[in-house]
Amino acid sequence: MDRELTRAELDELLPLFALDALDGEEREQVARYLARDDDARAEVESLREAVSFLPPRDVRAPASLWAGIESALDVPAGELTAPPLRLVAADVSTRPDAERGSRRGRRAVALLAAAAVVLAVVLGVQVVRQQDRIDDLAAEMHRDPLEQQAMAARGSPHAHVIALDAMHGVAGGEVVMLPDGTGYLMGKELPALASDGTYQLWAKVGAGDAARMVSLGVLGPKPGISAFRLTTPPSMFEVTSEPASGSDAPGANVVLRGEVA
């Protein structure tokens, strides 16, 4: 192909791209189109949603597949293969009726009861641990999307976390940077400013005489988690207190500062 496709032509190719049925220059041109057009990307995503129902349903993944995945995880294996706790509880509650048993049966029932107490204690501990995880998960489910993204980035093994030290006794903060230049400022503990003020995030980029402070965003008087993009490697981050309209250059009132290691 020796020409750029028109937008109409590119739109016509979106379903074929969703099926991975393009190759060569057509595929490259559509990929570039998707990188710059949100609507086109949304169209491809929705078509991929539809074709995700096409795989055969009568094929089951072999047990060896999950075993292989689990063994390759880079943290110690957990209790993934343990039976659900509720099944243990069901076993305890469905013991034979002890009151109708013989003396030997009563002894057995007593042993079973003792065992049940032990099980209940163990179960109780497990349930508490379990509840902790569920509570954590529930909390995560109620976070707003930006916070979810930030927390996911924070947990990524590829994230670079830069601690921001407080300059005037306020709580510190941190910046999370991903390799693609996506960054998050985690500064939820900053005290609220008056309505005529705002926090502003800055990064120092460049080196030597070319070093300069660039604004990454005006955060408002009571910032939560903020996302930004920075494709140039920074050497320092600062959060300053500025007039409500923001500033072209950082003022003297530095609230947080962190050097990038």
Partner: protein, 194 residues
């Protein structure tokens, strides 16, 4: 634990994966592992390769969970699209193509593919079947050759002895109609909620 994770959203599961919670990855695998493997098997026609590829995709999710953006689609679509793209890369390599064609001749002389049997999730099977009924036979054949057999639309045109423009049109019209029908039936949105 399983029951509660079973109600977690895709986004919540991926956040949990980012925190190295293996049980969250296990839940994602429980939901989508079969579909991912089935798709890899269908495209690659090689069990060992399919296992290797699906393992790679799930480990990639474990290592780089931020690659999934819940605002752009479901985790199911993300995983199947990733599996499909990787599988296509494999089958389009010339050597793999030759080996695959050889295996096809031996094991699948002329696969009769019934799209109605290719739907997932028993509970939704009837609705999904109905949705696929909106496709004409020609549209189904073109889509299955492209998506499930891993051919480019130009290859599909040769296989069907049809003009490229006709094949492009059938895929385009059929796929968009299928998508619209699934959305109208609430099938895709139900997955978005899960």
């Amino acid at each position: 634990m399983d029951a509660d994770l079973g109600e977690a959203s895709d986004a919540a599961l991926v956040v949990a994966i980012a925190r190295f919670r293996e049980e969250a990855l296990a839940e994602v695998y429980r939901r989508h592992g079969d579909a991912a493997f089935a798709l890899a098997m269908r495209v690659l026609r090689d069990r060992a390769l399919a296992e290797e590829l699906v393992q790679e995709v799930f480990l990639k999710l474990w290592q780089d969970p931020e690659r999934f953006d819940p605002g752009r689609g479901t985790l199911r679509a993300f995983l199947t699209a990733t599996v499909h793209s990787r599988a296509i890369d494999v089958v389009r390599a010339e050597s793999a193509r030759r080996a695959r064609e050889g295996r096809r001749e031996r094991l699948h002389p002329e696969p009769e593919y019934d799209l109605e049997r290719e739907v997932v999730e028993l509970a939704l099977a009837e609705q999904v079947r109905d949705a696929f009924d909106v496709l004409s036979d020609d549209e189904r054949r073109a889509i299955e050759l492209a998506y499930l057999d891993g051919h480019t639309y130009r290859e599909v045109a040769v296989l069907l002895d049809q003009p490229e423009g006709t094949v492009k049109s059938r895929i385009r019209v059929g796929l968009r109609r299928l998508r619209d029908t699934l959305v109208e039936a609430g099938i895709t949105s139900s997955w978005t909620e899960s």
